[in-house]
């Protein structure tokens, strides 16, 4: 077992190499000096090419090329108006189903672009998560398990920031956009027992972090010289001292410096108009484009929250607006990732806290429903063009392939090459990534 700072939980498996030691040398992968660097992990010097011959290290390297973009459909998107339509049934609503590029698989007519791209995607139609409350449902679908009073679990983004991120990275490991105010508190962004190192950079306005740019009153030269002075003083102070907090202090400055240098990453206008058109002119589209820029620059996990889907009244009008937007943004994202060769390394997830009732209420709305709903996984590690789970003819129950939150999370981890049974040691307690006995959905994994 590795001996990191006591407050930081560590992987319980003693058979694994030290992540920190490993990554300390593998940083050059991202920097482009691919073949020349040696790895510190092994007693004997070893090139990166050698590393690929060792299965464990090769897996570790491959994992660190992986990225995740979560499209969080806050408020609860309707499965009937997206990925599990029931045309012609009393619960089906007015939208038709259209055939996709995957033989035998239909989705709502509101998603004509995704229908032509469903061969990139696995549709999970059997989610049955049991919590139809916004707060509880959202927490469940962010943590992958029910909360416990004595443990503060990290959310999906924090876990993936730890598993996929690089300690020396100068871009954030976890960025989350949530611009609407409704439901923002439900969309958990917490590092929990992993520590604040893995907390998200939380953007609540527009597409860029506030206060990122150098103050106009400070010249570029002054800014650089101040940084040099701080670094010199810090180095002098730390000479001969061993302290994790000193290292953390310096790392924090380095990350802020990296962020300031990469402010253009958050600027969608840096992209050609043709690329911007792929995502569309809405805020959700622009934020998703920024997410692609971020993961391309090495940010391992980005969540874009599109709120608010809670259509108790006028469900069909609301979904006509929001699904049309989702169809354009999601298909644009998949196209862009594919064209850049990133789709094989990037997992795109669409997820809500729950779905919506098959019954249509008197306001032509649909209410909260956690019994039988849908999510999707596209790209990295996924058996593309697959559908898992069957709901009954009215969409009231899952009749085959029921999936809970833990199974869905285990599937995400496995798709990224992360062992979902791996544990973090928190004090005396090993805490696995998913609850014991949880199985991933093998049928949707590549």
């Amino acid at each position: 077992m590795t001996t990191e700072h006591p407050s930081v939980p560590v992987e319980a498996s003693a058979a694994r190499p030290s992540r920190r030691g490993f990554l300390g040398s593998s940083a050059a992968v991202g920097a482009g000096a691919f073949a020349a660097k040696t790895l510190a992990f092994s007693a004997a010097p070893m090139t990166l090419l050698d590393a690929f011959r060792q299965p464990l290290l090769a897996d570790e390297l491959k994992r660190h090329d992986k990225r995740v973009i979560l499209l969080w459909l806050a408020g609860g998107a309707s499965q009937l108006e997206t990925f599990d339509p029931k045309p012609g049934r009393p619960t089906g609503g007015p939208f038709r189903a259209i055939q996709t590029r995957v033989p035998g698989v239909s989705i709502s007519e509101l998603m004509p672009k995704m229908a032509q791209r469903l061969h990139h995607t696995a549709v999970v139609r059997g989610l049955s998560t049991g919590n139809a409350d916004h707060g509880g449902g959202a927490r469940l679908m962010h943590l992958g398990r029910r909360e416990e009073p004595t443990v503060k679990f990290p959310d999906l983004g924090a876990i993936l920031a730890r598993e996929l991120g690089r300690p020396e990275s100068q871009v954030p490991d976890y960025v989350t956009f949530y611009t609407a105010t409704e439901g923002r508190g439900n969309a958990v962004g917490q590092a929990g027992f992993l520590g604040s190192r893995y907390s998200p950079m939380y953007l609540t306005t527009d597409t860029a972090p506030p206060n990122l740019r150098r103050l106009a009153s400070i010249t570029e030269n002054d800014h650089r010289e101040r940084g040099d002075l701080r670094r010199e003083l810090s180095d002098r102070f730390s000479t001969g001292r061993q302290s994790s907090s000193l290292a953390s202090h310096s790392e924090a400055f380095a990350r802020v410096g990296g962020l300031m240098a990469s402010d253009k990453l958050f600027d969608a206008s840096q992209e050609p108009q043709a690329i911007r058109d792929m995502y569309g002119p809405t805020l959700f589209g622009e934020q998703t484009l920024v997410a692609r820029r971020l993961i391309e620059a090495g940010v391992p996990f980005v969540k874009i929250s599109r709120a608010w889907w809670d259509s108790h009244g006028q469900n069909f009008e609301t979904h006509l607006e929001l699904v049309s937007e989702l169809d354009h943004v999601m298909s644009g994202l998949l196209d862009d990732l594919e064209q850049r060769g990133l789709l094989d390394h990037t997992l795109v997830v669409t997820l809500s806290e729950f779905g919506r009732t098959p019954q249509i209420n008197a306001s032509l709305g649909r209410d909260h429903f956690a019994n039988a709903w849908s999510a999707t996984l596209s790209g990295c590690g996924i058996r593309r063009g697959s559908v898992y789970g069957v709901t009954d003819e009215n969409g009231l129950n899952v009749v085959e392939g029921k999936v809970d939150a833990g199974q869905f999370f285990a599937t995400i981890f496995q798709a990224l090459g992360i062992d979902h049974e791996k544990s973090y040691q928190v004090g005396a307690r090993p805490i696995p990534l998913t609850n014991p006995g949880t199985k991933p959905i093998r049928e949707v994994l590549a």
Partner: protein, 331 residues
């Protein structure tokens, strides 16, 4: 004609389906309601034991029905217009009329023309006798200012059939010359469309109903006022009346008891009062006193009301509602 003193439900005919549109044959008193199952549900509500007849013909919700002579013309979210014999139900014509959802179908009073509006943002005028397309009226943007698909909700002929009005989701209204298809006037009714840029970042509402005054000089627009929580139909019912040639608003009725959309407006032929039907999860029936510029009566209905017809001779309103056909006495 004095303002009505009575306004109450007299009959409730339960249906499994959502009834979305309704028309009444003046000759027979028979009711034809378009429903969520893609069918026309026909019934004589005055019968001692009303029995429904169902006619197929659409692949989705039937949101507009109109009578033109012997023909019943229906339109739906499948984009089709279907002509059938109103007595037998036999279909004589079925057209792919619009690329998107048809929201409303109306007939001119003389039965010569049919007008349909749809989310392709076009109003099409048809020869009721042979189904020939006469005019395509284009004057509504396909996208809202926030870049989302717009919707063309309502249309109405003037009583003399010379004018045709349309209104879209963001409240852009156009009055057309029905014979030539030329735009005569435009004005804005912005207070019925709620765009929430902060809390939920989408929209709700939009004007849902139109009616010309008996003299054709005024146009009433019905919908819902601004909404705080757009998850629900919680804006106050709202009716505005415009002198359309000048675009001047003459009346504004804001519901003080009921929330939700005003889905149907019907002028009394005297021009003295106006009926408004609609609701949120419940329903409301309101009588507007136009001379007094006040809501004369407002009554609660058991569920959301989607459409209505009114027979002045008997004071009977028949209402298409959520899972019901309702009969009210308003006299």
């Amino acid at each position: 004609m004095a303002l009505p003193n009575e306004c109450k439900q007299t009959k409730d005919l339960s249906r499994k389906e959502i009834l979305l549109s309704v028309v009444r044959s003046p000759a027979t008193g028979r009711i034809y309601a378009g429903a969520s199952d893609g069918k026309i549900h026909s019934v004589d509500p005055a019968a001692e034991k009303p029995e429904f007849t169902e006619w197929e013909g659409h692949g989705s919700y039937v949101t507009g029905v109109a009578l033109a002579g012997p023909s019943l013309v229906s339109g739906g979210y499948d984009g089709r217009l279907v002509w059938r014999d109103a007595a037998s139900g036999t279909i004589s014509r079925s057209l792919e009329a619009h690329a998107r959802w048809i929201r409303k179908v109306v007939a001119s009073a003389d039965g010569r023309w049919i007008a349909s509006v749809a989310d392709d943002m076009v109003c099409r005028v048809w020869d009721a006798a042979d189904g020939k397309l006469l005019h395509e009226l284009r004057g509504h943007a396909e996208r809202t200012p926030q870049h989302f698909p717009s919707m063309l909700y309502a249309c109405a002929f003037s009583p003399d059939g010379t004018r045709l009005a349309t209104v879209d989701r963001v409240g852009h209204a156009v009055v057309w010359d029905a014979a030539t298809g030329k735009s005569l006037a435009t004005f804005e009714v912005p207070g019925m469309y709620t765009w929430d840029p902060k809390q939920r970042i989408h929209a709700i509402g939009g004007p849902r109903s139109l009616a010309f005054s008996p003299d054709g000089q005024s146009l009433a627009v019905g919908g819902m006022g601004q909404v705080g929580n757009i998850d629900h139909l919680e804006g106050k019912t709202r009716v505005e009346i415009f002198r359309w040639e000048k675009g001047e608003r003459s009346h504004e009725f804001v519901g003080d008891q009921f929330k939700g959309l005003v889905e149907r407006l019907i002028y009394h032929s005297s021009g003295e009062w106006l009926l408004a039907f609609g609701g949120d999860s419940g329903g409301s029936v309101q009588v507007m006193d136009l001379a007094g510029n006040r809501i004369h009566k407002q009554e609660k209905a058991s569920t959301h009301l989607h459409d209505a017809v009114y027979d002045e001779s008997t004071g009977t309103a028949v209402i298409a509602a959520h899972n019901r056909l309702l009969v009210w006495n308003i006299a």
